[in-house]
Symmetry: C2
Subunit: 181 residues, 2 copies
C-alpha cells in the first residue's frame, strides 16, 4: 500500500478515477456507477464495479480507496460475482461481456479526435468509456465502434483519466441543471 | 505518510489539489503556479508555492506529492524563503501578505453564490482563490473583497477543491483555445 504507482495495474490511477467519479464536498454521488477492468498480474482481467447508492465507509484519499480495491481483488471468486464490501462488486468479466451487458445504454468513448462534447446530444443515462494512463486498446475501441459508441472529445489536450471524469461529472451536472453549452 | 487524511492540515487534500493544478497526460502545466497556506500545527501558517516551470521529479500520486510537501515543511526557515526542492518554495507568509503581493493580478474567489463563471470575463493571468475542505475563512473572504476579487461560481453543487481546480484548468484551456461559453 506504500507504492500504489508501482503496484500491478497502477492502483493509484484507478483510485484517483474513483475519487473523481463519486466525491462531492458533502457525500458521494449516488447516481454514479463506476466500472473498471484491471489487466495487471497475476490473473487478469478483474472486473470491479462500484455503485454509489450502496458505497459505504470509503474515504476520498487514494490510499483508502486502494485498500477497498485490494479487498475486492482478494475476495474475488471464480464463476460468480462477489460483493467484497458494501457497494463494491468483483468478478472475472471481460470487456466484451461488459459491453454486451450495457449495450442498450447511450455509450460514449472519450477520444481526443471525437466530436466536441458540446455538439453531442447527451443521453439520459450515459455510459462513458475511458482508458487509463495507457488509453483504450485498439481492439476495445473497435468493439466500442461496433456497439455504436459515440466518440466524444473534451478538447485537444490530453488529460488524465481522473480529470476527464471530474469534467464529465461537472458537465453532466450542468446539463441536468438545464445549462446548455 | 501512511495516514495523510489524519495528518495535520489534511495533506491528502493539498496533494489532490496539486495533482489537479499541474498534471496533464504528458507532463505538467508549466504555466501554473500553485500557492497554499497551511494552518495545521505545530507552527502555522506555512506558505508553500509550486512553480510549474521549475517543478521536477514529483509524480502525480498523493503519497509522492505529500513527500515533497513534507520536505518543504522540514526545510522551512524563519525570515527567508527557501526552495526546498526544485520548484517548491516555502516561507512564513500570511494570507494578507500573499494577497498584497499579487494585488495587481485578476483575482477571483470560488464561491457557490458568486457570478456564474460564464458571465465573468476572465483576465489573461487569473489568480483563483479556493478554500480547502473547510472553505475559505470569513476574514479571508473579507480581505479578498477589499482587494476587489470577483466571486465566481462553478455551479450550485459543492465540489471538492481539487475538482474545482481540474474544472478551472479545463475551462482556461477552452478559453485559451478561443471557445467561449
Amino acid at each position: 500500500m506504500n507504492d500504489l504507482p508501482g503496484s500491478a495495474g497502477r492502483l493509484d490511477v484507478v483510485a484517483r478515477c474513483i475519487n473523481a467519479a463519486f466525491w462531492r464536498s458533502y457525500g458521494i454521488r449516488e447516481d454514479v456507477v463506476f466500472h473498471t477492468i484491471l489487466h495487471g498480474p497475476p490473473e487478469p482481467p478483474v472486473y470491479i464495479r462500484l455503485e454509489g447508492t450502496r458505497l459505504r465507509k470509503v474515504s476520498p484519499d487514494e490510499r483508502n480507496i486502494a485498500i477497498f480495491i485490494r479487498k475486492a481483488l482478494e475476495r474475488m471468486r471464480q464463476g460468480k460475482e462477489v460483493e467484497s464490501t458494501p457497494g463494491i462488486f468483483v468478478s472475472r468479466t471481460h470487456f466484451g461481456q461488459l459491453l454486451k451487458e450495457y449495450r442498450d445504454r447511450d455509450l460514449y468513448m472519450l477520444d481526443e479526435e471525437g466530436e466536441p462534447f458540446e455538439h453531442v446530444r447527451m443521453g439520459e443515462k450515459p455510459f462513458f468509456f475511458l482508458g487509463d494512463n495507457m488509453d483504450l486498446e485498439e481492439e476495445e475501441k473497435e468493439l466500442l465502434e461496433e456497439y455504436g459508441a459515440t466518440p466524444i472529445s473534451l478538447g485537444s489536450a490530453s488529460y488524465l483519466s481522473s480529470h476527464c471524469i471530474t469534467v464529465l461529472n461537472w458537465l453532466m451536472d450542468r446539463i441536468n441543471n438545464g445549462n446548455i453549452f
